[in-house]
Symmetry: none
Subunit: 195 residues, 4 copies
């Protein structure tokens, strides 16, 4: 009767609240209403349970990115879509994003860890998406001629920074920061010359 699901959901909650090291397998099992060895029946160990959860969160986030329309009216709309999508994600799956934002920084130095590989995957996805958009926009005259790699880096930093801020601090107080961020970027990138 859904004991496994129960286990996972309890683990998500506890890992998000207390961190990986601050959560014991005994606590997870007790709060899930099962016994400890059941964790080892379903998972190889605590770490696998943890990475299973992280992978789930990454999967959903990536799915949201993949769902973004590949072709849009103009290139800035793509950038706008990305900002909006990332903010929607953090609002709609807050606990899992929070888990990633609080657990992964301490794990990034281990390149074999899920945190490293999948954050890199997302970073690369962002990079390709934004590089493509910027290059096309510059070529078409929609954007001013900014140095692409560095601008991509700045945009990613801003998007990640907003996720982090929202997720770890009381970001929900700035509900329309999202739109302000979009306009902030629009003013900076759009070519207003001639027109």
């Amino acid at each position: 009767m859904g004991k496994k699901k129960n286990l996972i959901e309890t683990a998500v909650r506890l890992f998000a609240e207390q961190g990986y090291d601050g959560t014991t397998t005994l606590q997870i099992s007790r709060e899930a209403g099962v016994t400890e060895p059941l964790i080892y029946y379903h998972f190889k160990g605590k770490e696998e349970l943890f990475t299973h959860i992280l992978n789930g969160a990454f999967d959903e986030y990536v799915a949201r990115l993949e769902a973004l329309p590949a072709s849009t009216r103009d290139e800035f709309t793509k950038i706008e879509n990305l900002i909006v999508a990332s903010q929607k994600a953090v609002a709609e799956m807050p606990r899992r994003i929070r888990l990633v934002m609080s657990s992964c920084p301490a794990r990034i130095k281990d390149p074999a860890h899920v945190c490293s590989s999948r954050m890199l995957e997302i970073f690369d996805w962002h990079k390709n998406y934004l590089t493509n958009s910027l290059e096309r926009g510059i070529a078409s005259g929609e954007f001013v001629a900014v140095p692409v790699p560095e601008t991509v880096y700045v945009l990613i930093s801003m998007i990640n920074g907003m996720i982090r801020q929202y997720s770890l601090l009381n970001g929900s107080r700035y509900v329309n920061a999202r739109d302000v961020a979009v306009e902030f970027c629009r003013r900076s990138l759009l070519n207003r010359q001639g027109g």
Copy 2:
């Protein structure tokens, strides 16, 4: 002879490399060439050693902020100074910033922890500094009329995002991202009306 200093420096290194939970007091003492109880002679415990280090890092970062000139040629220079100063900090005290960036996210939910109180302190400092700058700049016509609180929020997110990116990922590859970020903001904020 400098055993305490040795202890602290070793702890900084190990905490930054392996995280708080991943570092044992035995390991710290061994690599520092002292015995374990010495930690407990100088500090109340592992946690106090840790917060001592964090406080040191926060102190230095705050000192850098306080050193920023209070009055500048124009308001955007203040914003530029802040971006530059934060990037200089992360380049000049990388290990300690990295320690903060990787350790604190997992501790922010505890409002009593050094991470919470001092990150809030820095957040507030940033907020006041940027709010002041934006309000003056808008009033004088230097800046376009942006919504102040949200724009401040976006700017802080960007600055923090860049610190995080630099600190945890290989941000050093984008050395002039700093200047690109400054220009990015300048284009967005500066009032170009009536050229």
Copy 3:
């Protein structure tokens, strides 16, 4: 199997021989043929194992008191019964009584400790029992008119003193001290007037 029982019996022995502080959890587990963490599986900690044992000893002692006949031929028989019962207890459960007599004095200042609450319980039981007996005996003319509370106090001191003496010193050498004590009290209390 019976590892828990083994653990408890070993702990009784070692605590009685070496005291609480003089006995380590490692020693208990080793001499019981189990591993240390098993103590923590069955008990919350060393202290709980200790109080579990103390409670067992108190329970048995109280059970012996409760088993004393409520109505007797005369009132002095009650007093005799109490003296005999306490001496029988110390002869039949020597290790546990010795444990109590050597461990509890150091713990009595802590009113929350098992030693305090349960010794008080026994003290009160003795007090009620003896007060009742003395009052009835005096009223009926069986006893001389002694001041009741103080005489109760003296009798309890004598009983406890004999337990202590027997338990901590080589009291077994005075096997018939019990009967001598009974006669000692009888001569003192019985009303010989009008023989």
Copy 4:
């Protein structure tokens, strides 16, 4: 300036309040306003400081016994004197008696310890004193013909039991228990035949 004395007095207080194992050398030194190594300058170690204090208490108690008059009007007065003296001692040097009563039971199994040797010394003193008194009293017809060794044993138990009761429990509430005890013994021992 009396630092040694200070040390000892503080140690008496702390050992009495918290027991030997519950008191650390650091705590003693701090509360005495000195540093830890000073303990090792004046004493060989914690244990020696402890036995120094115990010996002081035993010395004073023995001195009180020795001060009892060797010849009295009758033999029962000797017994009365002993009861009164022991109760006076516990009222006049409560902390040190309490220290002995709470610390020594756990140490009596070690025959080399001060607790063992000096409590035995006192036990023997009591035994000789009472044996002598009883034998003479019986011979002279002052006392009834009780079995001497066992009666001595009972009397010692009663005296010790009253000290213990007074010292560890709220014995001070029964201030005239002393006189009641004396009368209790008098009635039991005195020969009333053929008045």
